[in-house]
Every structure is written in C-alpha cells, then in structure tokens.
C-alpha cells in the first residue's frame, strides 16, 4: 500500500511518486493538496498512473489531476502525451465513453423567475430527453445519415436545423473532430448508435438546471454571457453505445497488435499501437467518428432542452432563450502541438477524465475567445456546485493545456449502495430546494455527493496551480439523472 512517504513534493500541490517500476520511460506527476493526495492513495489510481509511464513514446511526464481516481488501465483524471509519429495511441487512454463531455447553456433570466415553473420544466426535460441504459431517441438514422453524423458531428445538426452557428463556434473542435472516417466504425457500433442520438444514457450522466451562484471574474464571465443569479443548464453525456462499441472493437483488436509490434505492457487494458501504424490510424479515424457522434448527441439534447424551455416558459416570462457558453470533451485523444523543452513538438494527448484548458492566444479557439482562453466546464457531483474556469498559459506550459474534469469518486459504488438510502438522499436534495428526476432511480445512491470528493477543493487546487482559473460557480436547482 502506498503512503505519502512514497512521494516527493516538488512545489506546492505538485507531487512526484518514487520510481515504482524499472520500466518507467518518464516520471509521473500528481497535482493535489495533501488531502486529495490522501484520497488518491485510497485506491489503485497512482499505480495505474505509473503504469501509463511505460507506454512507448510517452513524453515529459504522465499527469494526474486532483480529481484522480481508479479506473481500468489508465486512471480517471489523467493526461498522457506521446510523441508523434512513432508514439502510441491507446483506446484505453480514451475510455469506452469516447468524448464524454459537458455542455453549458446560459440565459438572461434570473433563476428566481423560473422557480414557479421548475417542476414543469423538469417534467418536460424528462419526456423530451430520453434517459436510461438502452434509451432510444426520437431519431432513427439511415446508414447515410449515420455516416454524416459520424464524419460531420454538430455540422450535420446545423444543416438539419438542430444547431446554430454560434453553438458550433462554442464547441471544442467546432463540433467536428478532424480525421473521422466512418469506414472504420463497425456494423455493430452502428447498430448500437443508430437510435441513440439525443439520449442521455445512465450512470453519472445528467441534465442539470443551475443558478449562477457566484462570479469570480466579472470581465471574463460577462464575455461568456454568465451573470450572477441567472439560469444555466448543463448537459453531461457522451457517445452512448456507439462509442462503447468502438472502444471495445479496438481494445480487442489491439490485443494482437501489441504482440505484432513487440510492445510489453503492465496491464492489457493499456493496449496500444504506434499512432502512424495501420491499427493506430484506424482507431484514430473510428474514435473521431465516435467523438463526432457525441458532439451531435449533446447538440440534439440541447435542441430538446431549448424546446422544453419554450414549451413551459413561452408567453410567461421573457429572455429564457439558452445560449451556449461552451462544450468540452473529457475523454479524448487529440493531435496537438506543444512547446516541450524549447521545441514545438507534435503529440497525441490522451485526456481520460481531464479537460482541455487552452490559454489565451491559442489559434484553435474561435476568434472571439482567443484573447481570454478556452472556457472549461467542471461539473460537480449530483446536488453539489459546478464551476466554469478559463484556460491558462500555465496549463499550456505544465499540463499539455489540460486541467481537471470533475469531483472524482472516492467511494466505491458497492459501498455507496450499502451506506446511502435512495429515498433519504432524494429527500435531502429536496430539502435543499433541488428537484431530482432519475431515469434509473436504483442507481441514485451510487451518485450521491458522499461518494465523490469535494469539487470545490479540486477546483481550488487547479486554480492555485494556475492550470485553470475560476470564473463562476453554479449551484443546482434541478437534476435529471440518466
């Protein structure tokens, strides 16, 4: 069992674990305060972090964010970059829910104004945004339509009238990841995704109606349309069964690829292939398709959320229109260029449970955001605060332009089910003025706030480190849980 004594603190909130393995190619680095470091030591997440330092081509250091927790293969809350073209890409470094991410919408209406209509809004959202495991959407796509979704993402939604130009401008990669080629997505993945567009799914996915509770940076918040007291809506979901199948297909296929390329790994879930190999390229093309599916999914859900607000609020209050602040991925592998030891280097950045947080001046941001940096969305656990941050130059220098992605679990699902009664939890949330509606009520306890770290503490660490700066805090008023 690891202890704090196995770590060296190289700066405030930055820890380097000792060399646990002889085959580490680079050091590992953990960003956390003492309490969050202690939480990370409660499971196998640090061992998993160290395992990722053995990947061929890994560069600089493997990074764990303060919300790190145990996953499978890679830890959740990790950033691992490999040098291209010879470095590897790993499907497990992205995970099964490819482009799981968060979208934030805001309105100019005060949260108090919609309070009398909140129950109706929740009912409407619940009907219009299908949730649950095998939930089916309102749209069943033909093969040709599915190909276009996979290759064009939110752009196809714009053409169909489910998105605005501004929505696309305020989406990572403008809602379309380059490199997508539907020829590398299996028939099985297509079958799973065909009728899942516009669905929330289950697990920790949600739609949340929030109130902007606190603004830390008035100037940046105003640029993003965020004002204290107003209504905000978050959507957290990903690529559904289609993405899960793409990951399964390639993790299975790469079991052979690692043998063919003579790659030795400490865990079979880390399987990988050189980025420029046939296998590496095919996975990248397929992953990009699943990522585009996820952007399109959140876009269609956005359309349905706007429709729900319209259904309930039209003619009753003004200015309830929801504008998009941003949409970010937190499970993705991306080709980027970063300055490393004085050189501009092309890398494949695996962010698994971490968020891109590009600072001011980045040419990949829309022109109107280039001087302030990229908005970063950090959802809390159910019933707790969420944060809007802004990307920073420090993140570009220290973490391949990355920051945390959420609160991070601290209690197992099995333990949460034993310790927390769902009816009590729902009553507690109601007592705090938070409405809850769940597609799968039996899983509610697993997502209880007690099962997660304190998101405010996580955000405080990244803010103090400068790898994401606080802009605003949101507090929930209603949750539609998947």
């Amino acid at each position: 069992m690891l202890s704090k004594g196995d770590f060296v603190r190289i700066a405030d909130n930055i820890w380097i674990p000792s060399t646990f393995r002889d085959d580490m190619r680079v050091p590992a680095r953990l960003y956390a305060d003492e309490e969050l470091l202690g939480a990370a030591l409660g499971d196998n997440s640090v061992v998993q972090l160290v395992n990722t330092t053995t990947l061929p081509g890994v560069i600089r250091h493997a990074i764990a964010m303060p919300d790190i927790h145990q996953g499978y293969g890679f830890p959740i809350g990790g950033v691992v970059a490999t040098r291209l073209p010879e470095g590897v890409i790993s499907p497990g470094g992205v995970g099964y829910d490819i482009n799981c991410g968060v979208r934030l919408l805001v309105s100019l209406t005060a949260a108090e104004e919609i309070k009398p209509f909140l129950e109706d809004i929740v009912s409407s959202l619940y009907v219009n945004c299908p949730s649950g495991v095998g939930s089916r959407g309102h749209m069943r796509l033909t093969n040709t339509e599915l190909d276009r979704v996979l290759q064009e993402g939110s752009r196809w939604m714009l053409e169909k009238g489910y998105a605005s130009r501004e929505d696309l401008d305020r989406t990572e990669e403008f809602g379309r990841v380059p490199g997508a080629d539907a020829a590398f997505v299996s028939d099985r993945a297509r079958e799973r995704g065909r009728d899942q567009l516009g669905t929330l799914g289950a697990g920790n996915h949600f739609i949340e109606v929030d109130k902007v509770a606190e603004v830390f940076d008035q100037a940046i918040a105003a640029r993003l349309g965020i004002y204290s007291g107003n209504v905000a809506v978050q959507v957290h979901c990903g690529s559904r069964g289609l993405g899960h199948q793409v990951c399964q297909d390639y993790v299975s296929r790469f079991q052979k690829a690692v043998r063919d390329y003579g790659i030795t790994l400490p865990d079979r879930e880390l399987v990988c292939a050189p980025f420029d190999s046939k296998e590496g390229q095919e996975y990248f093309h397929a992953m990009a398709c699943a990522a585009n599916f996820a952007f399109a999914n959140r876009q269609l859900l956005t359309h349905m959320i706007r429709h729900s607000f319209e259904q309930v609020l039209a003619g009753k209050i003004k200015d309830f229109e929801l504008r998009q602040v941003y949409d970010i991925a937190h499970n993705m592998a991306k080709v980027e260029e970063h300055d490393i030891d004085g050189h501009r280097i092309r890398v494949c950045v695996h962010r698994k449970g971490s968020t891109r947080a590009f600072g001011p001046g980045s040419s990949v941001l829309p022109e109107d955001l280039r001087d302030i940096g990229q908005p970063v969305l950090i959802p809390g656990s159910m019933g707790t605060a969420s944060y809007v941050l802004i990307g920073t130059t420090e993140a570009m220098q220290q973490t391949f332009g990355s920051t945390c992605h959420g609160a991070g679990r601290v209690m197992s699902r099995a333990k949460a089910r034993k310790m927390i009664r769902e009816t009590e939890l729902r009553d507690q949330l109601r007592a705090r003025g938070i409405l809850i509606c769940a597609g799968t009520m039996s899983g509610l306890a697993e997502e209880a706030p007690a099962a997660y770290k304190d998101v405010s503490r996580v955000v405080e660490v990244v803010h103090r480190l400068g790898i994401g700066r606080k802009v605003a805090r949101l507090e929930p008023v209603a949750v539609i849980k998947g």
């Binding site: 927790h69 959740i76 697990g203 899960h244 079979r268 899983g443």
Partner: protein, 134 residues
C-alpha cells in the same frame, strides 16, 4: 448459488468468478455480469441466439464473450438464461443462448475490460477477476 463475489472498485464494478473449467467460468462470468447489472427476465422467451467469439487467448475470449452478452442486453433488451457452449478452445467459442426479454438494467455496464485480467488455475478449477466499465 452464484459462483462470484463483487470486489470493491472506486468508479466501476468488479467481480471475482470461479468455474470448474473454462466453459464453467464463461457461463458463471456471464451470469455474474447480468446479476451485477441488475437485469432479469421480465418478458416472453425470445428466440435462441448464436454467439461466435474469437480471441488471441482465453482472457480475450472471456472479455469478448461478456461484451457479446452486453450487446444482446443493450441492443435487443435480452437477458441470457441458458448457455450451451458447443465449441470451445482457447481462441474460439461458439454457443447457443436461450434468451428472454429483460427489465432495464440498474447499472449501465458499458463494457467488460481487460484490466489486470488473468485466468488463474486453482485447486478447484479456474478463477478470474473482471472489471466492468460503468
């Protein structure tokens, strides 16, 4: 009595499963995963389904088999009640499963993973620990 026990895992679900031989392990693992997912029969018996799985070794066979069962559950809302594995070696499996319409799962298992997966020989047969992505 089920031949599995759940193992603590921070974010996902994990279980230890046993079987007298590979066939028993595969069958028990499928039942364990369905039990953890909270699915059970809730409708009419459905037609039998043929499952064919290949892998580079026994571990990959096990993972691919479980993912086939998940696919039937998510895409066709079917729970497997009886398993007839009629061809099996370390790299290939063919089976006929009897299925029934199922209730909605509680957990939403996305996939069976290879995380630290190793099928071990024990005095009573075979044993493996499997992590499921939730």
């Amino acid at each position: 009595m089920m031949s599995f026990e759940e193992i603590e895992h921070t974010a996902d679900r994990a279980f230890r499963v046993k079987g007298r031989d590979l066939e028993g392990l595969l069958e028990n693992a499928a039942r364990a995963m369905q039990a953890l997912d909270g699915v059970g029969p809730a409708g009419e018996p459905s037609a039998t389904r043929d499952i064919e799985v290949e892998g580079v070794d026994r571990e990959s066979l096990l993972v691919n088999w479980l993912n086939e069962i998940l696919f039937l559950e998510e895409t066709h809302q079917l729970v497997c009640e009886r398993f007839h594995i009629y061809e099996l070696n370390d790299c290939r499996l063919r089976a006929r499963v009897e299925t029934r319409e199922c209730n909605e799962s509680h957990t939403h298992i996305k996939a069976a993973t290879f995380h630290n997966l190793k099928i071990r020989q024990t005095s009573a047969g075979l044993e493996a620990e499997i992590v499921l992505d939730v």
